[in-house]
Symmetry: C2
Subunit: 203 residues, 2 copies
Amino acid sequence: MRLVVPVSGSDPKTRLSPVLTSDERRDFTEAMLADVLTALRAADHSPEVVATAPVDCDAPVTVDERGLDSLVNDLLGETDGELAVVMADLPLLGRSSVERLFEPDADVVLAPGLGGGTNAFVCRHPDFRVDYHGASVRDHRHIAREAGATVAEVDSRRLATDIDEPSDLAEVLLHSDGAAADWLRDGGFELLADDGRVTVERA
Amino acid sequence: MRLVVPVSGSDPKTRLSPVLTSDERRDFTEAMLADVLTALRAADHSPEVVATAPVDCDAPVTVDERGLDSLVNDLLGETDGELAVVMADLPLLGRSSVERLFEPDADVVLAPGLGGGTNAFVCRHPDFRVDYHGASVRDHRHIAREAGATVAEVDSRRLATDIDEPSDLAEVLLHSDGAAADWLRDGGFELLADDGRVTVERA
């Protein structure tokens, strides 16, 4: 099965702008991508990267400027619906969370992200298509069922934790020792604990 | 093994004050507790509730005004470290996430919460103790290892999703059809999707 990791290569992770410059956001994106590729390979997959602009990584890269929906839906068409897609901003991924994504015996396996996104899916059905806008995991459940596909969801915190906002950076420092965590530590980020959830501060 | 669900009965969930009145926070807390108790029973456990003030629920309740650390550490002492603790604000819990908490063959099994908390643990070691302040999951890893206990962590989004802040309410509407989700829907809460993570609005 083809496994594609889409990544934004041009101006990625704009919601991290309050804490990272444009160059830093590109570097951090590549560090997160490296973690995702390492996890996928550890689970014996051969990921391909599709980026909107060139990115530096240890996998075959295709540059494709289309939006995510057109890109993934064309790939679903080309592969007759035998496709896995894993987002590039999941630096908490490890071998076992990847294995769990491929475990359920269902036509469509969804990995929900925090806030209603779809951080990864495995498709084994010709008629499933994606729509990443809004509460996409809800829409993907619906699209899959309308297509007559069986659906399973993976209950994984590591697959759910996409890094979009400054507060998400704490999850990387708390739960990873990969490239993205190293990059943050080298950049002076530290955990800041008070009464609520832990956040980060930059030295 | 004793399984205790601690819950704040007096002025719970103050971080939800921007969207819920004091009475509503108490009602919503009881709805979340009902979901947690249902999930624990579905996995064949017999939970006990320990509340800082009387709460209405379908389980034996002990009222104990002590703080969480003293309470849980005394219970760990009384039970010679054979104890499970599951927080009351995890309305996404289901039977399978509870089963996964008890699965690992380790002296201490931790279920990290978003933002560094410890949403549940299973202890089978006499010397483990808790310290819930700050990034508690990091401290609990450390305390367990210092005690010579083996440690495992459960990778579960459902166990990780404690409901503390208004934005967390979206997770309940997205991923549950239990008592807490019903309570929110009856209270007029709906999902609001725009470009980032899904949030809620009240009709």
